[in-house]
Point group: C2
DNA sequence: CTGTTAGCGCCTTCAA
DNA sequence: TTGAAGGCGCTAACAG
């Protein structure tokens, strides 16, 4: 039971508390002799300084908060893992705020950014609106967005535009000219967290089409709630029209799985009769052999956490913006169109 | 920017700090009139008490720690989710210690259980050995094991023996008599965390066999590192022997997926030519239609967290032991053996 | 009921 | 170099 205080140590070592504090924070202004005495006393008492008291005295929480919807989709867990890895190597405690509803998100955005709660904040995959962003900015709590975006806040994002473009380009390279896109709903209310990547991936889709001089056909873009079953339904709609696509780009791997299910429903063989490409490269993607666009999820967490640590060490003025690349993972759900 | 203190409030309201503190902690000994004045001052200053200072004064951290290998397997995430849900409704902060190696586990077991770090501790799926357990016990930090076991520590576990038995009984009921078991390695060094459920599920396997008077065949039990690919390899070994099993019980859903892969490799149709049953009922299990034994993962987190909260409110003497039931989820990977 | 005061355990001047 | 003292913001015991 360690209940000794700095005072006990001082008494035992025959020095003042100030001196003990100095050796604790290895200040250079301590003679080697007294340092030894103090160290001996510390060892004898099995003393270790109270984190709680330090916090008050230093006016720091020694804590980093992370706000994340980390249980709702597998990709978030992977990012969080990167964050934890970095923070664990520091003296900071990592406190967790899991967000599964917009209400909870708003509550976290309101209550968490306080100097007496956290020294720094990491926000995963939740893009704050201007009002919330202003609160973060004025809260004096250094904050980094990971996989989320606001023009005035530090962030590390994946290049969703290039990723989307890469996916569609892959389809085009295979010879496809009729390429559908199935995505989350781009607008509320079906996208409560307003994950913004949708617009970017959509844009990548459009750009690839344009570059290949393939006209965009609005009826080839279906959107709805993010889930496998909805994607499956959307695919039915998409494929039941005259002149249906020969390939589909899915906003996410989860949706890609729904598309494949729909293809099965309709007796279409993948990839022979329908090519499907996803996005994220979640664990399941490898299992089912899904061709997809990989983003380095774990790494995004590592990078974001490191940015925060740097910010904490040396507050910076300019907004830090990091964009991570994506990679095409070519598996078994894409092939040239049947002719 | 909220930098006002209780003193500012007192001054503004024209009362003493003690009074302000009383209304903050809604003590009954405050007249309605002064309470109002204080409340008004608080509102005007947008004051909220410093958590940091409260901690020192109360000699409590207002923090709950959770030590978990939570990223290594999907089941852990689910449990953690239950924990978070409960803690989020309290004033406690949830601080996370992710453990991915035995070294890190030992470090956490050593450093985390300190009164000045956490008020209470939740440990997921990591069973401490006696030495560590003694440290927890003497640390004065109320601790609950979730999905982990030590005879002298509070714990909530799932009934792995009954679960294993239930799985194998299901296979037997379908008519199988040649039933394999693929599991994690039961001994070090391939099971660095020494997850103990393995022995229990193995025991359930044996019991079901015994009850049906089916002799145990050691060559039907293959064990190795926990992963899909290793399970796949083990399945090859298992099925390439003369008189191979017609059904396999997998220690986990993850391994069951590897078994199915192996079946595909070998051109065996599941469930017609090979029945497979898993354990856990992770999200993926539903995706692929895996028959499995469900344990209520989320719920185990909820229950454990609530136990801790109760302990914190009213320290109890007796060791709390909770055992949760399992449930057979009958999907599409089991069927009667082919004749 | 309410104001005052003494800690909580540490860090940090300020003298010596 | 070092000891002593004041302060971080709050709670709680003690008078009144």
């Amino acid at each position: 039971m360690n209940s000794s205080t700095i005072r006990d140590v001082a008494k035992l070592a025959g020095v003042g508390v100030g001196t003990v504090s100095r050796v604790l924070n290895d200040s250079p202004d301590v003679s080697e002799l007294t340092r030894r005495k103090v160290l001996a006393a510390i060892a004898e008492l099995d003393f270790s300084p109270s984190v709680i008291a330090r916090r008050l005295s230093l006016r720091k929480t020694l804590t980093i908060g992370v706000i994340a919807p980390f249980f709702t989709r597998p990709a978030f867990v992977e990012r969080l893992r990167g964050v934890e890895k970095v923070i664990a190597q520091t003296n900071y405690d990592l406190v967790l705020f899991n967000v599964e509803t917009p209400e909870r998100r708003d509550a976290c955005f309101r209550d968490v950014p306080r100097r007496d709660r956290v020294d720094g904040l990491l926000i995963l995959s939740l893009s704050p609106e201007d009002a919330a962003a202003n609160r973060f900015l004025s809260s004096q709590v250094p904050t980094i967005l990971i996989d989320a975006y606001h023009p005035q806040m530090h962030h590390v994002v994946v290049d969703n535009i290039a990723g989307g473009q890469k996916a569609v380009q892959h389809l085009i390279d295979l010879g496809h000219r009729q390429i559908g896109f199935i995505s989350d709903a781009m607008e509320n209310p079906f996208n409560p967290f307003r994950f913004s990547h949708i617009h970017d991936r959509y844009q990548g889709y459009r750009q690839a089409l344009d570059a290949a001089a393939i006209p965009f056909r609005p009826e080839y873009h279906k959107q709805g709630l993010h889930s496998r079953s909805v994607a499956r339904q959307l695919t039915h709609d998409l494929l039941s029209q005259p002149d249906p696509p020969t390939a589909i780009f899915a906003y996410s791997d989860t949706q890609a799985l729904g598309i494949i299910e729909a293809a099965n429903d309709l007796g279409l063989r993948v990839p022979e009769q329908l090519s499907v490409i996803g996005f994220d490269d979640i664990e399941l993607a490898e299992y089912v052999g899904l061709t997809t666009i990989r983003q380095n999820l774990y790494n995004s967490g590592v990078i974001g956490a490191n940015m925060l640590l740097e910010l904490l060490a040396a507050p910076i003025h300019a907004v830090q913006k990091v964009t991570l690349p994506t990679e095409l993972i070519n598996r078994q759900t894409t092939a040239p169109p049947q002719r």
